[in-house]
Symmetry: C2
Subunit: 495 residues, 2 copies
Amino acid sequence: MSGTNVYDELMAFQRDTEALAQVAGRLGWDQETVMPRGAAPQRSEEIGAMEAVLHARRTDPRIGEWLEKIDPESLDEAGRANLRLIRRSYRRHTRVPGALAAEIARVTSLAQGIWAQARAAEDFSVFAPILEQVVALKREEAAALADGGDLYDALLDDYEPGMTAAELERMFAALRPRLVALRERLLGAARQPAPLCGEFAEEKQMALSRELARAFGYDFDHGRIDKAVHPFSSGSGLDVRITTRTAPRDPFNCIYSTIHEVGHAAYEQNIDRAFLLSPLGQGVSMGVHESQSRIYENQIGRSRPFTAFLFARMRDTFGDFGVPDAEAFFGTVNRVHPGFIRTEADEVHYNLHILMRFDLERALISGDLPVADLPGAWNDRFAADFGMTVDRPSNGCLQDVHWSVGLFGYFPTYTLGNVYAGCLYKAMREAVADLDAQLVRGDTTAATGWLRERLQRHGGLREPRETVAHACGFAPSEGPLLDYLEEKFTAIYGL
Amino acid sequence: MSGTNVYDELMAFQRDTEALAQVAGRLGWDQETVMPRGAAPQRSEEIGAMEAVLHARRTDPRIGEWLEKIDPESLDEAGRANLRLIRRSYRRHTRVPGALAAEIARVTSLAQGIWAQARAAEDFSVFAPILEQVVALKREEAAALADGGDLYDALLDDYEPGMTAAELERMFAALRPRLVALRERLLGAARQPAPLCGEFAEEKQMALSRELARAFGYDFDHGRIDKAVHPFSSGSGLDVRITTRTAPRDPFNCIYSTIHEVGHAAYEQNIDRAFLLSPLGQGVSMGVHESQSRIYENQIGRSRPFTAFLFARMRDTFGDFGVPDAEAFFGTVNRVHPGFIRTEADEVHYNLHILMRFDLERALISGDLPVADLPGAWNDRFAADFGMTVDRPSNGCLQDVHWSVGLFGYFPTYTLGNVYAGCLYKAMREAVADLDAQLVRGDTTAATGWLRERLQRHGGLREPRETVAHACGFAPSEGPLLDYLEEKFTAIYGL
């Protein structure tokens, strides 16, 4: 068999694996949107069975044999990229012993329930013993993956291939002082935007959200929007579904959750159809994925011109809702307000939430921070960066689900996404001359079209950082994000 | 390893297979209810990948090794039944060569599309060539399964284990003359029930359907109702979903489709939880399944006492809808009317539709009826039994999807279901003394409770015919169905 035929055989095998992964992913969508509540015990067995099938395929020894036989030089660019991604997946999945993977699945499933109990009881000591187990297991997994290298890097690599903790540390060290200084200036400013008040009918919020999803290019022929407790995007290729949520007093939650998830979903929907059900046919990393959701939500969706359009549409939808004009609305949408909860944070505070989690989880994985000392370390850091005292664990280190389910190395990709979004926005503004004039009409075609052409359609063709650099035409750094935040928010606060 | 440990190993393997089969089945539900329409090409690859996984597991040689090592006498009744069902599945799946199974999947998938085109074009000649291929492939499959026995029996066995064409032939020969005689008496009667007229708001039909589903014991904690083009029930165990449909001028379609599917779903929901995700944990055959949907829909749902309750609920829901009283309503619900289409047939005509399909498909499989002669044979038989001339293929042999997708041996299970429902109803009336007094209040508790206890909870524990015999306390035959139909309909028609 020639090298090309072997490649075709590998890709046919891989195609079925990708199709099965889509099926497994959709079980999650189903669970959060339409599943009857009594089905949960059976569902967890279904998910376990699907995961076992996927694990067996991803570690199938034939993959190793196929990879050995194929000469990458006989392939085109896409073929070489596929090979690189398959090789990485095979290495990662075969390096972790099956018994360890099963134990991690078992313990994190348990830990998630205990975390929820501890959070409801406001008692970290309930969670500490199982978190210690999770940390120990993740250290063991990291050691298997790292092959002598840095433990945290080995975990990070799962979410952001090629990124290192050292590089993030450098980037975050540049972000932190300017973000802290900015928040202090803004909170001390004489001009303060007013918060939103009133009640907003939920079905009208949903109708407006659907209209905005369409305006941002979401393709309803290959997706759908449902309500769920937590907004998310699910699936790749021809079936990319999103969820959003509504609360009567907080229409921005519904609107900006929708736009955020449309950013994720549009990335998946816009990948070159030639990559369908191949390793290239999905977003290349969590950080790059988050750059798309963030630029849709913030740089475009919370921009002065787009909020002017949104203000008019909200007036059409809800009548006079107490905000006098588009300029005041721009301030209200972008109001900076310190708070304990990451998911409720504004653009200025958000990254400070991430930076502290990054430092804390690195210390947990390195062993420098014992689990028992986590609440104290969290609360000290929060006081330093936010100037506030954590009043209870659910407002502190028990607020996020991530660590309970073993997601160490995931948090920094949120801020990396913001950094990438800052770079992409800088490049987009240079490329699309009359961007603001389009956005003020609610027309995102040029903006989203630029992202589709420059970044989204390429899927996993290049490494994450290269993907952003290729789109921008320059190497990504934290500078553009900081410049964007300082310029936008000092203007809003009249500084 | 002792026999019992080998049994546990086999059952653990089987449990994952059952869980994966649930996942695969839910893809069908998703496709018919919530899937974005542009997702179809990806979905067919997902289904293909799941089917390949399931086929590999069902033919896994370890099953054969485990089966050889286990002594059935070391097991309890449920264990022996599991073993029997696993052995049958393994034998069926391993007897059909993989290449033949794949070719049947490929050709039937193609044939379904061509059937739809031919039906829309009213041109049987478009469908004939691919139907010839399907018939040839199913004959080949039957030969592999039959091991020298009857070809049609081998196909029938997939839907109704233990049943034979000879037994059906005897049963249907007893049904046909009495049904033909009954329909002629009814259609010639002086008293004719009035058809339903008017428009009925679709959301009110859905609300009433949900209420009726609850009244028939459908468990919404382990299921849900959605709208779809064709009503169906999907899933086993803790997640059994149904669909229904609405048409403004035909509320009976929505109401009785719902009750029918609740019959299927209640069977699945009521199986002993100890059988969850085991071979015993699903309805034992298509015929027994249909007995549940039919007895819910017809013997209970279209009974004089229950329609009196339904009449009152419809008056509450829709106001005066032109039917003067409960007695007239009972007639309208049960109006006998000849028609070309099986799925629209009343209780008297329905089985005549099935009897002719049974004879025709046996002749196709035996080779006695060439595909080219099918329309003529269909139309002749239809004229003989229904006294009507088929005006176009979509009202004749192109009306049903079954043969295009290779479902030979499936049709007779519909009438077998009616026959079993007749037996069960006879036994139920003897067991539940004041049944009518309960049904007139809309209370189906005793009726559905009797079915649950006597039949549904046992799942696949006994062979299909034994399952019904155990529930009834007598051997099933066509007599009770004929007696029921003659008694009910001559009364309605004042004969």
